[in-house]
Symmetry: C2
Subunit: 309 residues, 2 copies
């Protein structure tokens, strides 16, 4: 299979690359532990060159398309946000190109920005738009709710193939901060407890108002001290409480598609089931598929209409 | 004025002592920066002896009553919680005494525990019960809502002189963790901004459900990046959002008494005004008055019925 594109998903804490054929098939995926934060000298070009050197030696100067925080102001080069509603074509038109000595022209996907409007707040995403483009295509859908859980969970409504509106929940970030930097840290660890997570979901369901979360957190402390909650279950209970609060707020009985790695997908599926919502899981190759779709829409992939080589 | 009691309010991060007369008048207040956490060798007796040595030299072996976390399992000696409803007499009966070589008998106020029951969750307080006993007395009241804001804010309902039910909000603890240990830390500082705090209260009023807080937090990040919120106002906005969420949850139009230091009292009064609730502020000597009332109820203060010396 001849290669036609290198797709790169480069975030703060991860770096994934995929060598793809002209039809979008993944020839070889690659992942490295060093995200943007690990590139201390900010020599992103050298880092990426090293990662894809053998691919380029074998297949020549392939087009490269990067998505994720690498295109943020704090990344390699800023690819300004495009506005909602955003679909494949509008995102592809907003790609930013950078000519580099060692890699030739490198393309960067823009993030998506939502302006303040009725019922929605100013919000931004970067990287998720590419995953959603890919997930939509692989599901053969043009509408739906897509959920990208994590440090900053995104709930994204897609209508007629376009990212229409979204909301970001700081669930993972808040979880880590509360677990390690509040009084809860004294009775909490990273053990996984199914029962603890379920207890947290129960707590989320019982929340009575917008400020109740601040009160229920302290119960985790009291319960751990008094033995009403196994100390090895408090971390999972906190996770269940926060994910449950997020799920209850957003799911509202409507099915959604999870774009997430295994462990997180499992927690969100469990929470969805608890709140009686259907959750599908998108294939893990959504980002690469999105990169390929954007590259194709931008005319970066050579059409192979002639006889196959 | 002859001394009759040494009251000690000893928490994790503070140590305050008061030399008091038989009628409860404060002869001399004293405060030290070293809370329990600063007593690395856990030699609490030596620390307290040093603090009150000159008082004892002058006035003899006065009774000493300590309140606060010093009576917790992790403190000097555990004074087990007494149950709600808790009033002066029940709390006084639960004092725990410790005989010490250098200070004689030292008494410790118990905390108060609320069991799980209809509409209330298992919860505990330690130190606040003594402040409330004092604040009630100084206000000449037997009923009301008392609010003790801070790391772990307490909302305490008093009926007929007894602590009847309460709820703890982790507002201050959550504020510090989010401010310093999430993505918000990159666009946040400790500046005080009246406008920022007010913006946070606006955000709290607009919260739409139990999980909405997790989403609105991210707006602080977006707004700071986009210039919709002065970076010097984001800390105050976060404070306003959290205090507002707490206030909105609990105040429900009902007047309350704040037992708090100046800076916090000011923020909570402003939030109360915003939510159209009347907030009074208790005198700063509530803890000392509470210690004196408990000591008197426990018979630790010599009655001076004879001719005055």
């Amino acid at each position: 299979m001849s290669a036609a594109l290198i797709g790169v998903d480069w975030g703060t804490t991860h770096l994934r690359a995929a060598l793809m054929a002209a039809d979008g098939a993944i020839i070889e995926p690659r992942r490295m532990p060093d995200g943007l934060r690990a590139v201390a000298d900010r020599n992103f070009e050298r880092r990426l060159s090293a990662l894809v050197a053998d691919w380029r030696a074998l297949h020549g100067p392939l087009p490269i398309l990067c998505s994720g925080m690498v295109g943020a102001r704090t990344g390699w080069i800023e690819a300004p946000y495009c506005a909602t509603p955003a679909h494949v074509q509008t995102i592809a038109e907003a790609l930013v190109a950078l000519d580099t000595p060692s890699l030739g022209r490198v393309h960067f996907a823009p993030g998506v920005r939502q302006g303040e409007h009725a019922g929605a707040h100013a919000d931004v995403m970067r990287g998720e738009e590419t995953q959603i483009v890919g997930a939509l295509d692989m599901a053969g859908e043009r509408n739906g709710m897509f959920v990208l859980p994590g440090t900053h969970s995104k709930w994204v409504e897609v209508e007629d193939g376009a990212i229409r509106r979204f909301a970001t929940f700081m669930t993972g970030d808040v979880y880590a901060a509360l677990k390690d930097h509040t009084i809860l840290s004294f009775t909490m660890n990273d053990s996984w407890s199914e029962a603890g997570f379920h207890r947290g979901l129960d707590m989320a369901r019982a929340l009575e108002g917008p400020g109740d979360l601040l009160a229920r957190l302290f119960w985790l402390r009291v319960a751990a001290l008094e033995g009403a909650l196994d100390p090895n279950a408090t971390g999972s209970a906190l996770s269940g409480l926060l994910i449950g609060a997020e799920m209850r707020q957003m799911a509202q009985g409507r099915a959604f598609t999870l774009v997430a790695g295994d462990a997180l997908a499992q927690r969100y599926r469990q929470a969805a089931k608890y709140f009686d919502v259907e959750a599908r899981v998108a294939p893990p190759t959504s980002a690469a598929r999105g990169q390929w779709l954007l590259a194709r829409a931008a005319g970066l992939i050579a059409r192979r209409d002639g006889p196959k080589s």
